[in-house]
């Protein structure tokens, strides 16, 4: 739309183009079930992308330094845990768009397919290949097929933890779907 000439002649909506499309923080109307800490919520949101980027770094760096799919996945998962701890299940529902079992399945599928792929080239199962690339700025880059296996582990771990948050976390939350409040009161005495 924007590239059409008559659109281009329209005045740029100076005051509106950067209006947030969704609420940045939950408001009072949003359902939540425990006392909120504004500081924690804001901090969690600020840190979230950074932690995710760091987890991807761990995933890629695993080949030469400490890290790998397992650690990377756990770090990414902890980012979700942070968001959940800060905002509860409503916060989790806002940011998780993909169903966690799908993520688990995708991770498992990637790993298993990586393991089976060498058969197509006449190699035994789980054989690995290595490619070296020369990139103009970054220098030499080594990619092995095992990275895909690691990626599968990474996704699977994230999926498992988010699923855990969904069930063990939200499922045992006061007012959550798996919880009978009266029963809970009785249990606590």
């Amino acid at each position: 739309m924007d590239h059409r000439p008559d659109d281009a002649r329209k005045p740029v909506p100076w005051t509106e183009w950067d209006t947030p499309r969704e609420r940045w923080l939950m408001t009072e109307q949003d359902a939540y079930s425990w006392p909120r800490s504004m500081l924690l919520e804001v901090l969690a949101r600020v840190l979230f992308p950074t932690v995710l980027v760091f987890s991807v770094y761990l995933l890629l760096a695993g080949h030469h330094n400490a890290g790998g799919g397992f650690s990377g996945g756990l770090v990414a998962a902890l980012a979700f845990v942070l968001r959940y701890v800060a905002g509860g299940s409503a916060e989790l529902a806002m940011m998780v768009r993909v169903r966690p079992p799908v993520v688990i399945g995708t991770g498992l599928a990637i790993s298993v397919l990586t393991a089976l792929a060498p058969v197509l080239f006449g190699e035994p199962v789980l054989a690995s290949a290595m490619w070296k690339l020369h990139l103009p700025v970054l220098g030499e880059l080594k990619i092995t097929s095992n990275l895909a296996l690691d990626l599968g582990v990474y996704l699977l771990i994230i999926g498992v933890v988010v699923d855990l948050l969904r069930t063990v976390g939200a499922g045992t939350e006061v007012g959550g779907p798996g919880v009978d409040d009266e029963e809970l009161e009785e249990e606590r005495g």
Binding site: G68, A93, A115, T167, G171, L184
Partner: protein, 783 residues
């Protein structure tokens, strides 16, 4: 294995184009047929082509395909009839039911691929894999959408019975493979082992074959499986899958036909099955069930011929396998047309169809004649050879031959019953309303039916294949397949069989008596009882073992941990290595921290405090790893510890904040303390012992470090081990993780679903599939 790839795509095709998916699916078996026909020459020879794909060479797993005469025969059958049935299903399926179309087309093509793999496989492991794949396909195809209880019961019965046999067969195959020292079937057969183990192995393998081919006393699953759509029955339960058991027997017979543990059960069960199947078929009113009992009877016949183990009987078996596949699929497809167009397949309600559908009647009659063994059809050719083989042999063979002759009389009777019941005009039943029977479907019935007719006139086309297989049993006595051998004893017996059969059919009183088996003697009754018994046993055992108390579980686990390796430790000489106080001064404060945290957690009165202190212990161990230079280990330890803490906190929200102080709790405390203390000490001792025992680095570790850079391109050895050297372990672990997570999630969510239903809130209970969870629901505001 293009079949599996195609099967994966078919649901998408079906969603868009509906029934056309079956035609697309039919391309796979049709292509196989053409390709196989092009390579017939290679199979019929002394050295059949052999292809091997290494699967996991380190442990000797590989997939070997061997394309010999027997495989060729079954491939022709499976792919030829597969193509016909898939095309037929394209007309048979409901136009708008895309879900069923997608499922069944994909499953049928997968099944065809599995059957191909089964008959081609030359090593016992892949044989077993494909074997079970056919079982699973059958289960899913019979079960359909799984809504009707009858579908589920039948599918489960088929699955239970055939899987029982399949597992027994796996055990037998492995025993046999171990005894022979090779997993290659061709090598086992070339040099058959002997001994007591082999006898057991053969009996186990036979159990698999007999259950799969619905032999007495495992037969009841086949008639129950007739609830499946007719094309599925035609393909799986007449032409292809039930032939798997016959194939297995045919495969192993050349080497073991003389072994008493092999031929006595095969011939005995086969004969019994043939008679019982024919007998029960006399009483059936449902055309499909009638055919199912006919199939059982015919499979018994095939078993008998294979068990006899002579050149002639093998030739007969080969011919009959082909003939049976052709006529039985034609008959099933006919029943499908009748069921679909006339609206019923009960012979008490059908009348006058023969006058309406002359072409279909002729085709079905041809097929039924082939079944009854009438000239000039392939069934007759096969039966001639069979009678010739049995009556030309010794005393046992002649006795078996008499049994087969009686079975054949029954076959003639139920063939007549089928044709008259389906197409005859009955005076006391109103003739069916005129409907078209469908040209395409009739045309597809014509393919196998006319093939049976044509092949009878030119048996030379198929003879080399069957003779090639029969050569495994000995030398060629100079017999050739033909319609006319002159006036031979076999011909006279054949004529006698047909005349007796017609007489029996005319004499209706015998029919009324026929087919009745008293309730306590029926195999179905016994199946029901054994399943009930198993369930009772399982409930009892589970109730005793799974008491539902976490402390008891933990106690049992820890006691086992101490007792089992501890006993081994005490039995062997134990030496402590040289102990050092510390390697690095940083270890001292960390150790103190861990010790203090552990001791304090014992004194904690609040659950949260105890959990946090346990967390401190975990972090302390992570710190140890850092000090010792295990960066990867430390990272994982810290992350896991954090996650564990979080999960703990989630869970203890549900618990009372303090530990209980009542009598019942305090009572068992000392026992618990003792178990925990002993287990802790044991682990500590073990750790010290282990670190004292390792002299330098083990060989494996040194190899890992040496090879990591060159073979995986990784300088991080830990990572190289995880994703390369021990990648198989990794895959296994993540699979376990996925299963555990899904299981835990289901258990927790199941609780909420159940409650939603009792609260009469179907909207929250039934929204969405498995992934529906709290995340998408708005938590209720606490009152």
């Amino acid at each position: 294995m293009a079949h599996f790839a195609l099967a994966a795509v078919l649901p998408l095709v079906a969603r868009r184009y509906g029934r056309a998916a079956f035609v697309v699916g039919a391309l796979a078996p049709a292509a196989t047929l053409v390709y196989t026909l092009a390579r017939v020459g290679e199979a019929v020879g002394d050295a059949p082509p052999l292809e091997t794909v290494a699967w996991a060479p380190a442990i000797g797993l590989e997939f070997t395909a061997r394309f010999d005469e027997l495989a060729l025969l079954l491939i022709l059958l499976v792919s030829g009839i597969g193509a016909v049935v898939l095309c037929y299903y394209a007309r048979y399926a409901k136009v708008d039911d895309h879900r069923t179309t997608a499922r069944d087309s994909a499953l049928l093509v997968t099944f065809a691929g599995a059957m191909l793999g089964l008959v081609l496989a030359d090593d016992v492991i892949s044989l077993y894999l494909f074997w079970e794949l056919t079982t699973v396909c059958s289960f899913l195809l019979v079960g359909g959408d799984g809504v009707a209880k009858r579908l589920r019961t039948s599918a489960t019965q088929a699955l239970l019975v055939t899987t029982l046999g399949g597992l027994a067969m796996l055990l037998g195959l492995i025993l046999l493979g171990t005894a022979a020292g090779t997993m290659r079937i061709s090598e086992i057969l070339a040099d058959p082992p002997s001994g007591g183990v082999v006898t057991a192995a053969l009996l186990l393998i036979l159990l698999g074959a007999l259950t799969k081919s619905a032999q007495v006393p495992f037969h009841p699953w086949l008639p129950s499986a007739m609830v499946a759509p007719t094309p599925v029955s035609a393909y799986l339960h007449a032409a292809a899958m039930v032939k798997a058991g016959v194939y297995l027997v045919a495969r192993f017979s050349p080497a073991f036909a003389d072994h008493p543990a092999w031929w006595i059960p095969v011939v005995g069960c086969g004969l019994w099955t043939m008679l019982l199947g024919g007998f029960r078929a006399l009483r059936q009113y449902d055309l499909k069930t009638l055919l199912a009992y006919g199939t059982i009877s015919q499979l018994g016949f095939l078993m008998v011929m294979l068990g006899s183990g002579t050149w002639m009987s093998a030739l007969a078996a080969g011919t009959l396998i082909l003939a049976h596949g052709l006529f039985k699929s034609a008959l099933f497809l006919t029943v499908g047309i009748i069921d679909k167009r006339a609206g019923t397949r009960d012979i008490r309600e059908l009348s006058g169809l023969g006058r309406q559908w002359r072409v279909l009647t002729t085709l079905a009659t041809l097929a039924a004649m082939s079944m009854a063994g009438l000239p000039p059809l392939l069934g007759f050719v096969g039966k001639e050879v069979a009678l010739e083989a049995l009556f030309g042999g010794g005393t046992i063979d002649v006795l078996v031959g008499i049994g087969v002759a009686v079975g054949s009389v029954l076959t003639v009777v139920y063939s007549l019953r089928f044709v008259r019941g389906a197409f005859g005009t009955k005076p006391d039943t109103a003739p069916a309303a005129p409907v078209a029977c469908g040209r395409i479907m009739t045309g597809l019935v014509a393919v196998p039916s006319l093939a049976g007719l044509a092949l009878a006139f030119v048996p030379g086309v198929i003879e080399p294949i069957e003779a090639g297989y029969a050569d495994l049993y000995g030398s060629d006595p100079g017999y050739h397949l033909a319609l006319w051998h002159g006036i031979t004893p076999a011909l006279l017996i054949s004529a006698g069989i047909v005349v007796t059969g017609v007489l029996v059919h005319r004499y209706a009183g015998v029919q009324r008596l026929g087919g009745h088996v008293p309730e306590p003697l029926r195999a179905q009754t016994w199946y029901g009882r054994s399943v009930d018994g198993l369930e009772f046993l399982a409930r009892g055992v589970t109730g005793r073992i799974q008491v539902g108390s976490l402390p008891v579980y933990l106690g049992v686990i820890l006691t086992t941990l101490v007792v089992v390796p501890g006993a081994g430790l005490l039995a062997g000489g134990v030496e402590f290595g040289e102990l050092r106080l510390f390697d690095n001064w940083l270890q001292v404060p960390i150790t103190l921290l861990v010790l203090v945290a552990a001791a304090t957690s014992l004194l904690a009165r609040r659950r949260l405090t105890a959990v946090l202190l346990a967390g401190v212990v975990g972090y302390g161990i992570g710190a140890w790893f850092v000090v010792d230079g295990g960066a990867d280990l430390a990272l994982a330890q810290f992350l896991v510890e954090t996650l564990t803490l979080v999960v703990f906190v989630f869970v203890i929200r549900r618990f009372p904040p303090r530990f209980a102080e009542d009598k019942a709790y305090v009572h068992g405390r000392w026992v618990k303390a003792a178990i925990a203390g002993v287990a802790g000490t044991f682990v500590a001792v073990l750790a010290v012992l282990y670190s004292g025992y390792t002299e330098g680095m083990p060989e494996a570790s040194r190899q890992y470090i040496e090879r990591a850079e060159d073979e995986t391109g990784a300088t991080n050895v830990v990572n190289a081990i995880i994703v390369d050297f021990r990648a198989f372990d990794t895959i296994g672990e993540i699979t376990v993780l996925a299963v555990a997570a899904t299981g835990a999630a289901s258990l927790i969510l199941a609780r909420s679903r159940k409650r939603g239903r009792t609260d009469d809130r179907p909207d929250t209970a039934d929204t969405g599939g498995a992934a529906d969870g709290s995340a998408t629901e708005t938590p209720e505001v606490r009152s």
